[in-house]
């Protein structure tokens, strides 16, 4: 199957790409995709992104389907670190 991976902010800068088309085996999960990415970009091993498939947050074992759009999302600007405004 073919899926589209989108990268933003820190991840976009670290990979130099905002979008990657990946060819994956049938029954691949988000984890499969991440392992593929870590081969090309070892820095990704340090990251713990939130994952969205077709605009919906999913767990890492989520099974992918042909044509899916996957986004690996760095921590948001205010959320986890609770920066007060």
């Amino acid at each position: 199957m073919k899926v589209r991976l989108r990268l933003f902010a820190l991840y976009r800068e670290q990979t130099g790409k905002n979008e990657v088309i990946c060819e994956l085996p049938d029954n691949a999960s988000v984890t499969t995709l991440r392992q593929r990415l870590e081969q090309d970009f070892p820095k990704f091993k340090d990251h713990d992104p939130m994952i969205a498939v077709n605009g919906v947050y999913v767990p890492p074992d989520h099974k992918l389907a042909d044509g899916d759009e996957i986004a690996l999302l760095p921590p948001f600007s205010g959320g986890q670190h609770g920066q007060p405004d």
Binding site: S77, G78, G79, D85
Partner: protein, 138 residues
């Protein structure tokens, strides 16, 4: 009706966002402005860059308005978030909430900005003297 949920790369008019929720039935309108602060964790900040996953950010902002409808019965919520390069003091986000009475509008507006930071995929990079970094990044 003007679109109540927006991303823009142009300066935001807080009045224009607020105007979207004004109705004769509403007696309380709360508008929150998030502005670019001149420091982060004690370091002086020069400017900020905001980036979004735009399709999903809009969808999550719509969901946020829906959550407010469910929790408070408030229909009138408008949110505009700025993207791109922002100078110190510029308005990064405006949230306007209107309801018949002020208490619900205050509560819902505070909920909206807290929740926006949790669920809406928007990132900011701060530029300080001698470097830059994504906030929340590493």
């Amino acid at each position: 009706m003007a679109n109540r949920i927006e991303l823009t790369d142009k300066p935001i008019s807080p009045e224009a966002v607020t105007a979207k929720v004004l109705k004769d039935e509403n007696g309380g309108v709360v508008t929150f402005l998030g502005t670019v602060r001149n420091s982060f964790e004690g370091k002086p900040v020069r400017f900020l860059e905001y980036e979004a996953y735009p399709e999903m950010a809009l969808k999550k902002m719509e969901e946020l308005a829906e959550e407010i409808r469910t929790k408070w019965g408030i229909d009138d919520v408008a949110i505009t978030h700025r993207l791109g390069h922002l100078e110190i003091g510029e308005v990064a986000v405006v949230i306007a909430v209107a309801s018949p009475h002020r208490k619900e509008a205050f509560e819902a507006c505070e909920y909206a900005i807290d929740r926006l930071k949790e669920i809406v995929p928007i990132w900011k990079k701060e530029a300080f003297v001698g470097g830059e970094r994504w906030v929340g990044g590493e």
